[in-house]
């Protein structure tokens, strides 16, 4: 057994763990040289100079282009689809009818695909496809889908799915009865689209029966699997490459209809084929579903939380997954929740950066503030009283100090048209590392170090993370390590979903480096004629051999190799991914300061402080980048983004970035990102999930700050100026 010092400074816990043959897990006592520092992304020079090749940039001399034709109707039967004129158009090389069941269930759903020698030819030829639709009635909102006599989206039965129930109604009702204050309110959130900078799609190229696909994806291996399945070919015949990628956020896991079409067109024409969606199509390729959350929360006068009851509805369009994370985070005496997915004639929801969480936490934290207001207790005090998480307890205090929480005044008490407000919200996530990934580390005689894994870097800086871990183990700098990612010919790696990539890939990376180091030192000892026993105490640090008579530089040690390289694979076998030993969940919280113009209803977010548990912070620079990005996306969700569907036609009214507004640089607040290292004893590295958790609390914190500023609450996202003025007017009337 060995002892680990876990937790964080100020809250330490000692834990006994079984000893392993692998590298000893890092804990609070470990002195790390490069892990935890600021390391610029290895690929940054390529990206800022435009040399990084995204799937979008892959070109071949005889490349052909493909596009799909979408239905103009939200619900229709395809009576007849005639491709003959389009096929006959000069330059068209391949065409396919994609109307599987003959019915389209959302506007923009693909009915046919074409491939041609140029995008111009494609545009012309697409207009020659003749489709005879029998237009059927549609519904695109939850309300309309639940109305009496509404057309059904998924065949038989109503549009409301089965209720998913958690908790016991009786218990929560009893809790409410014992309460001093009860708040009843309905919160709503909008549909947000992923709006990935690089749209979805791929370039496909065949060589005999071997297919190479350059895919914009967050799962190279999941694309390999789904393409192989769709084309009925062995997985080994499919190679997927994603060297760099322009955003996925949960919308790019498998091969989609357009990817499969692209591969087929390439096969049929024996030419490489490219199909990348345009922005309007990208808006159809996934979204964060909306929600209506009817909440009833109760508490005692002293701020003890009692009951939390939530009845929610949401639509994932023709898909599902519209649940909300509400209630949660805090210790309630009793909770009850009931959720129904409602089907509508709209494109399918997909996982989106912390699915269910931002929308749930917006309502949850709003309800807590409403309780606090009614009780007359400070919102921060209410959190501290009811938050069971040891890490978040510390984070609340840290964040409060950073934002200057003591400056917060009673809600609506400011004078003049510009009013300041402060708000906060919390988040939780799981330690989501998974076993199964394999990382190869190869050290060459010339002193170069190579790291290989087939997973993609979704944008989090996975390359640099891996380089930093290997550098730590080998006593080098991250910039000295060459990392190859995003090619399924290399060892298997995770799909980037659930914030799994870093925690899954870190342990095998460290173990591979550890094993490679052992092999290197063993060969070096042999070459120098040092007995193995004596060489046991050898190590590598600061570019040199340590523990030996002579502190040989790393390159000289490598030069002693008898073989051209030493290689080792890490499998993370010495790591238990499901065993956090300090706190079961990842904790985070955010604070927002806003300024609201009460004459115009405009909200300006001045500052956001985000304190985020990262497990081990491997690269503080990219950790802050993750948090910054999440906050930016959160501000945009809170104030701007909203997919609007026309009830009449079922089509999107704002299908481009002109109408679908994402925040601009002038709308950015000052962001103070505080990544926090917490030693959790999970795996040999302690790296945990970071991509999603900081995306959770931003909207909730901003909404609470707005309510504090104006003394009235907007219970609907996005918080647009008209809603702010309406809330103020409603507040006036109540008085």
């Amino acid at each position: 057994m060995s002892e680990l010092r876990l937790g964080f400074p100020g809250n330490e816990k000692k834990v006994e763990v079984p000893a392993s043959d692998g590298p000893a897990p890092w804990d609070l006592g470990t002195q790390l040289d490069v892990v935890g520092g600021d390391h610029p992304r290895l690929e940054a020079p390529l990206k800022v100079s435009g040399r990084a090749r995204y799937s979008y940039d892959i070109r071949f001399p005889n490349l052909i282009y493909a596009r799909l034709l979408g239905s103009p109707h939200a619900h229709a039967k395809v009576r007849k689809l005639d491709l003959s004129k389009a096929k006959a158009y000069p330059g068209v090389l391949y065409a396919e009818d994609l109307t599987r069941g003959g019915t389209v269930r959302y506007a923009g759903q693909a009915v046919a695909g074409l491939a041609a020698i140029s995008e111009e030819v494609l545009a012309d030829a697409l207009s020659l496809i003749e489709v005879d639709y029998e237009v059927l009635p549609h519904v695109v909102s939850v309300e309309a889908a639940l109305a009496k006599g509404a057309p059904t989206v998924k065949g038989r039965g109503g549009n409301a799915g089965r209720a998913r129930v958690r908790g016991r109604k009786k218990r929560v009702e009893a809790a409410h009865k014992a309460a001093d204050v009860v708040v009843d309110a309905t919160y709503r959130t909008q549909v947000q689209t992923h709006s990935c900078l690089e749209t979805h799609g791929c370039v496909a190229k065949w060589s005999g029966d071997q297919l190479t696909v350059w895919a914009s994806t967050q799962g190279t291996f999941s694309v390999r699997r789904s393409i192989a399945r769709a084309l009925r070919i062995p997985g080994k015949n499919v190679r997927v490459i994603t060297e760099h990628m322009g955003g996925g956020f949960g919308s790019k896991f498998g091969a989609d209809v357009w990817d499969v079409f692209c591969c087929k067109a390439a096969k049929a024409t024996k030419r490489p084929c490219r199909l990348m969606l345009d922005r309007a199509e990208e808006h159809l390729a996934g979204n964060r579903p909306d929600s209506i959350q009817r909440c009833k929360f109760s508490a005692k006068k002293d701020g003890t939380l009692l009951g939390a009851e939530v009845r929610s509805l949401g639509t994932g369009g023709v898909g599902g997954g519209a649940g909300v994370f509400n209630p949660g985070i805090y210790s309630f005496q009793a909770t009850y929740s009931e959720h129904r997915d409602v089907a509508t004639h709209a494109s399918r929801a997909r996982a989106f950066r912390a699915p269910r969480h931002p929308q749930g936490v917006f309502a949850l934290e709003g309800m807590l503030d409403e309780l606090a207001e009614k009780i007359g207790i400070d919102p921060l005090a209410l959190r501290l009283k009811n938050d069971p998480h040891p890490v978040r307890q510390a984070q609340w205090k840290r964040g409060a100090k950073e934002i200057g929480w003591s400056r917060r005044k009673a809600s609506g008490s400011g004078t003049g048209p510009l009013k300041r407000g402060f708000g906060l919200a919390g988040a939780r996530w799981k330690h989501n590392g998974r076993p199964g990934s394999v990382v190869l580390v190869r050290i060459s005689r010339d002193g170069t170090v190579e790291v290989r894994n087939g997973a993609q870097d979704i944008g989090s800086g996975a390359r640099t993370l891996m380089a930093t871990l290997v550098a730590e183990e080998l006593g080098l700098q991250p910039s000295q390590i060459e990392v190859h990612l995003g090619d399924t010919r290399d060892p298997v790696g995770p799909a980037s979903g659930g914030s799994t990539t870093s925690p899954s890939i870190a342990p095998p990376t460290r173990e591979a480096a550890y094993e490679a180091k052992k092999a290197l030192l063993a060969q070096a000892a042999r070459a120098l004629g040092v007995p193995a026993d004596e060489a046991k105490g050898w190590g590598l640090r600061a570019g040199k051999l340590t523990g030996a008579k002579k502190a040989l530089p790393f390159a000289k040690v490598c030069a002693l190799l008898q073989t051209e390289t030493v290689e080792a694979s890490g499998r993370g076998e010495g790591s238990d991914f499901r065993l956090p030993r300090f706190a079961r969940e990842v904790a985070g919280c955010q604070f927002a300061e806003v300024e609201v113009d009460v004459e115009l209803g405009t909200v300006r977010v001045l500052k956001v402080v985000a304190v985020q548990d990262c497990g081990t912070v491997v690269n503080a620079l990219t950790a802050r980048s993750q948090i910054n990005g999440a906050v930016i996306q959160g501000v945009s969700y809170a104030l701007f983004e909203e997919r609007l569907l026309d009830p009449g036609s079922g089509r999107q009214l704002n299908p481009g970035l002109l109408g679908y507004k994402i925040l601009g640089s002038l709308d950015l607040p000052e962001i103070v990102s505080i990544p926090m290292s917490v030693a959790n004893g999970i795996t040999s590295t302690g790296v945990s999930s970071l991509g999603e958790p900081p995306a959770i609390p931003t909207a909730g914190a901003i909404a609470n700050a707005v309510a504090n500023a104006i003394g009235a609450r907007v219970r609907s996202l996005p918080i647009t100026p008209d809603k702010v003025l309406a809330a103020l007017a409603a507040g006036e009337e109540e008085k």
Partner: protein
Amino acid sequence: MSTAYLKPASLEDAYTARAEHPDYVLLAGGTDYMVGILHRPAPVGVIDLFGLSALTGIEAGEGVLRIGAAATYAVVLTDATVSESFPSLRTCVSEIGATQIQARGTLGGNIGTSSPVGDTLPVLLALDAILELGSSRGTRKVAYAEFCTGYRQTLLKEDEVIVAIELPLPSPGVQFWRKVGTRKAQAISKVMVAASARGSGETLTDVRLAMGAVADRPIRLGAVEALLEGQVPSLELAEQVRAAVADAITPISDLRSTAPYRLRSAQNLAARFVLQRVEAQA
């Protein structure tokens, strides 16, 4: 069929081209015209005025500042007289699009389109701008207040070119400009309010109050101007302005905003014009 392209070297050439090709499109910065170009049939021809020196100068003369119709916003922003005498125009121009758009966009283009959401147009109304229109037949002057006759409709004749915008000097001592969009920049305005007044001391005289995005064209609110004329700003006056604005406009709901919001924010912005004077005097 390809689009013909003409780049006149002089104003006379431009007039001739215009007279000979009434079906060609006039182009300055192209920042309005090019939006959505792929979704429209290609034009028969283009007459490109961008950079035509006769149209790009800015000159302060006797009783008037003359801004060439094809002077870019970037150039307008560097002009000393604009900065000193027309702060409302300067602020408005500085908030148009972003750097790239300001490097191409022109006042002539904003006026040529005369969309209800053209940002500079309420400012031009509030500053009593006069347009100089030219053609082979000669030149004429028209007040901007008369120029825009309906939704994207203007008095510009088929053979005419907007040559310059004239702003009377000395400029009004009190100027006001505010716009509201979905986000801070690069968003089409939901509401814009421009105002000006002259007069000595606290009393407002020669009041102009104009709005955009609340009607089918940029408009002046005569009734509100009359209400303010000769008055000393006060909290009560601001309240009266709110009521008068409600009587004067009937905005619509669309993708960008709702009718009640547009009305409310228009009322508050007009009241702000008054309140700012109150605060300045306090």
